[in-house]
């Protein structure tokens, strides 16, 4: 698989970090932040590592950023011929995740495996990724509007990058 030199391998997240990430996603949907925080203190998550990273309102957004890069990787694996189109956006998502994780003072999380298989048809794959980019762009705008000033420029650039990806996915 194409792996340009400037893309460093993602650090393997601890089991605790992975589960925390799952809770962050679940917390955003059904469980609620209170339940997620309570479970975070539960023994089931004690993986032997003293994780002092507090939950952050951008945890779900960070996880979805990782998932977006994962979707590109899965598409590239299924359709290597799309490398010239997909590599730069994929690399951007990895850079976004790293920059955001750094800003939040936490490691880049591992996202759960995506539910569905990637399309094996080029046009369908482009449409699939474009849908994800559009949703991601809107999520980045929301995050930027709601976020702290120190994160505004980064989140704005992420929104703008996703908007620009839509151009090359046409």
């Amino acid at each position: 698989m194409h792996n340009p030199a400037q893309v460093s391998p993602r650090p393997t997240a601890s089991r605790r970090g992975f589960l925390r990430g799952l809770l962050a996603v679940a917390g955003a949907t059904t469980m609620g932040a209170g339940s997620a925080a309570a479970l975070a203190g539960c023994d089931v998550l004690t993986g032997g590592e003293n994780d002092e990273v507090e939950p952050h309102e951008l945890d779900a957004f960070l996880l979805s950023t990782v998932a977006l890069g994962d979707r590109y990787d899965a598409t590239l694996a299924a359709q290597p011929a799309m490398a010239s189109t997909l590599t730069a956006p994929r690399d951007a998502h990895r850079a976004h995740a790293q920059a955001l994780a750094d800003a939040l003072g936490r490691p880049v999380p591992t996202a759960p495996a995506s539910a569905g298989p990637v399309p094996t048809d080029r046009a369908l794959a482009l449409a699939d990724l474009a849908g994800a980019e559009k949703a991601g762009r809107d999520a980045a705008v929301t995050a930027c509007m709601a976020g702290a000033p120190r994160l505004a420029a980064l989140l704005g650039s992420i929104a703008a990058a996703r908007a620009s990806h839509l151009e090359v996915l046409k």
Binding site: A95, C144, M145, P149, A153, G156, A160, A163, S164
Partner: protein, 143 residues
Amino acid sequence: MSASTDALAEALAAEHAAIFGYGAVGARLDKAGQEAARQAETAHRNRRDALVVRIAAASATPPPAAPAYQLPFPVTNRASALRLAIALEEGAAQAWRRALPVTSGDDRRLGIEALMDCAVRATRWRRAAGVLPATVPFPGAPS
């Protein structure tokens, strides 16, 4: 002026420069390119007008356009025209990105929309120029 009004004034200066620069861009492109340049210039004019209103509402004086701007390099053919178009969008993107941390509410939203628009147009111009990759990971970040 406050930090937010200062930042909006810088964005206004970048929009003035873009409006001026697109005149030089369009002169060296074919019909399709001229249309793209015209649409880009319109977008910059609209943001310029919005900025003038906001800065004036903050009881500050919006910096006017200069009578002429020095282009960063001579525009003599299609290649240099496209290079200038990319530079105009990147310059505006940088000014808007700097405004984001010091603005809030409607001003920050204007900034986000502007940054996205500049990034999209820059990508279109890069594609026209054959610049690869056509996207950058952090639009508006200092180069």
